[in-house]
Symmetry: C2
Subunit: 375 residues, 2 copies
């Protein structure tokens, strides 16, 4: 069903790699808007991390060839050029490539930055590169599955001793308290009450009994209110247990197979007393450490953990636990975590969390299964 | 570029009929949600019109064969069955067809209503029909271009003496007063001020000058704020001139060619003194009159004109006039109206209005061109 991209194995297993036109309509097209680019360019935490990673590690760039995967406005490519790169191939799938070209020219680096419009799976470069730089991270790291494209680019175009920017990525999970679960449950109740009135009125006024649709209507709204992850910028004091590391990725070694399905057995100690796990929060961080033979001189980290100063445009992803789980300090939650790509579309994710509460007494409560989708 | 549907001429002229997968991602998929169906089913003006049209004209249905194009939940099909139809073919492109089937069964009409999942362009019926019923109207009547599918169904499946429900449709335009144009101009100014600050900060903090993108950023935001039609439910007292009829459609005779581009020369007398045309409002109405040889006994009209009682889910479409045109009672606006399908996607519309104000003195002011898109 999907088109096999040039040079990369199609990832058509359990998840659908959709037709290119559909992929553009669903995904790529947003990136063609300056409004969207500006939103990312205005994220100071994001910008600082990449800017410092590059400008404080010029040894990785001076005289080198660089590939920027998904250059967008071209900002990373321009920074690489300003850091001394000999050549930067800046690949962009949308018409934003035209703007990237203008930006490179107006900033005096058009001899260094070559903007190529196309998918990185399809383009041909005149040489292999020393560095691949990309800002590929989606919500909770892997939403959008753009890392597949970076892996493909790496396998095709990175020299054996080349360096990835970022070099590493990690996914985290923590239990949180929040009023949002109660709120969404209330919203669902209101929606169902409204539905029942609608069913009554439709029968009275129009002689058609719609009650056979109640089950499907409820399922649709449960999915919407309770089983779709939420974007939030959480306050750190909402975290009621120690965050656990779900996955640690070495961007130089990772394969698409390894990230297609992410599983982890986690242990989250609770540190808030007489509280409730209303949800789990998921976030990520990335590091710019270079590689073993060619390390960074100044390591930089970009984190999207809850931050009192406001966070990033990624926020965190919040997975509601319905109903919330009562917990006390000293309890532990054992979480069996599994994230896989949505069957219908590989850029979206389905998550299953099985939570077993272990009280401080040692007693274990029956497991609770939570299924959510990252849409 | 588009796939030619079975039995109907492809409409690939100046506008793109997109690939079926893209069409589903962009358009059809919304109709697969009960939430969306309920929104339409809760529109009492819409429901009353169709319900009365059918139930007060049983002679059109008793013992007859009916085709419901785009049956959705199946409501129209069920009403036709309840009005005495012998057979109703209820065609639906999305999985909503499953729900329509359940609804027909639970309402005791499954022997009459046959739900067929598919595009009406592709399906094969065992017989021609006496009536084609469909709720195909989009914003400003033709957004979504679903009427193309109804025309196709008519040409393939309606008996020579058959009847269309609705039988006629009209598009209207009126000048309105509104604070919204000033508001959108202010929003645009704020967006540009914010952009300029962003450009300055990006140069200071990150050494990259983004000013070359200012023109494109402005164009993108002008399009968004000023050149995209707005959905509103207007108050009738916002109308400051006599509405003009843009187009009158006979659903039994209309061709796709005739509706591909709509042009009209309109004359709108102004009846408000010392006012401004801040925008034009567009809306539609449809009538259920039957046909010459087989008229309705009880004619019903469904109008989406501005209504103090709240209107319909269609609202009206509002086309901003920037800057607003000062007018006085007795003035006339001569409007050259043209609506065509968006190049990239046949279900969206591009509108051009050329307004010439003729003062009560007889003096004519230079023409003002307004271009908007219905997205």
């Amino acid at each position: 069903m999907g088109t096999k991209e040039n040079g990369c194995a199609g990832s058509t297993q359990a998840s659908t790699q959709v037709d290119k036109g559909v992929d553009f309509a669903n995904y790529f097209c947003t990136y063609g808007y300056l409004y969207h680019q500006k939103e990312m360019l205005s994220d100071r935490v994001r910008m600082d991390a990449y800017f410092h990673a590059v400008s404080r590690n010029k040894h990785h760039f001076r005289g080198k060839a660089v590939l920027d995967v998904g250059t967008g406005s071209g900002i990373l490519a321009i920074w690489c050029a300003q850091a001394g790169a000999r050549k930067v191939y800046a690949v962009e799938a949308t018409k934003m490539a035209d703007h990237a070209r203008d930006l490179a020219r107006e900033n005096g680096v058009e001899d260094i930055v070559e903007v190529i419009e196309g998918s990185v799976e399809d383009v041909t470069l005149p040489e292999k590169v020393d560095v691949i730089i990309s800002e590929w991270m989606g919500y909770f790291l892997l939403r959008e599955s753009m890392f597949d494209s970076v892996i493909c680019a790496r396998d095709r175009w990175l020299k054996p001793d080349g360096v990835m920017y970022p070099s590493h990525a990690r996914m985290w999970l923590a239990p949180i308290r929040s009023g949002i679960t109660d709120q969404k449950m209330e919203d669902l109740n209101c929606a169902m009450n409204d539905w029942h009135s609608f069913v009554d009125e439709t029968e009275v006024h129009y002689g058609v009994n719609m009650s056979v649709l109640t089950k499907a209507y409820r399922e649709e709204h449960e999915k919407y209110y309770l089983k779709t992850s939420l974007w939030c910028n959480l306050d750190p004091n909402q975290i009621i247990g120690t965050p656990a590391l779900i996955k640690d990725i070495d961007c130089l070694q990772a394969t698409v197979d390894e990230i297609r399905t992410i599983t982890a057995q986690l242990m989250l100690p609770i540190h808030a007393d007489r509280s409730r796990i209303s949800a789990y929060a998921g976030w990520f961080d990335v590091q710019f450490k270079g590689c073993g033979q060619n390390p960074a001189k100044d390591e930089v980290e970009l984190t999207t953990a809850p931050d009192a100063d406001g966070g990033t445009h990624w926020g965190q992803q919040v997975f509601l636990v319905n109903p919330p789980i009562r917990v006390n300090e000293g309890d532990k939650v054992l979480v069996s975590f599994k994230m896989s790509r949505a069957k219908q579309y590989h850029r979206l994710m389905d998550i299953e969390l099985i939570s077993e509460l272990e009280l401080s007494s040692g007693k274990r409560l029956p497991p609770i299964t939570t299924r959510v989708s990252i849409e």
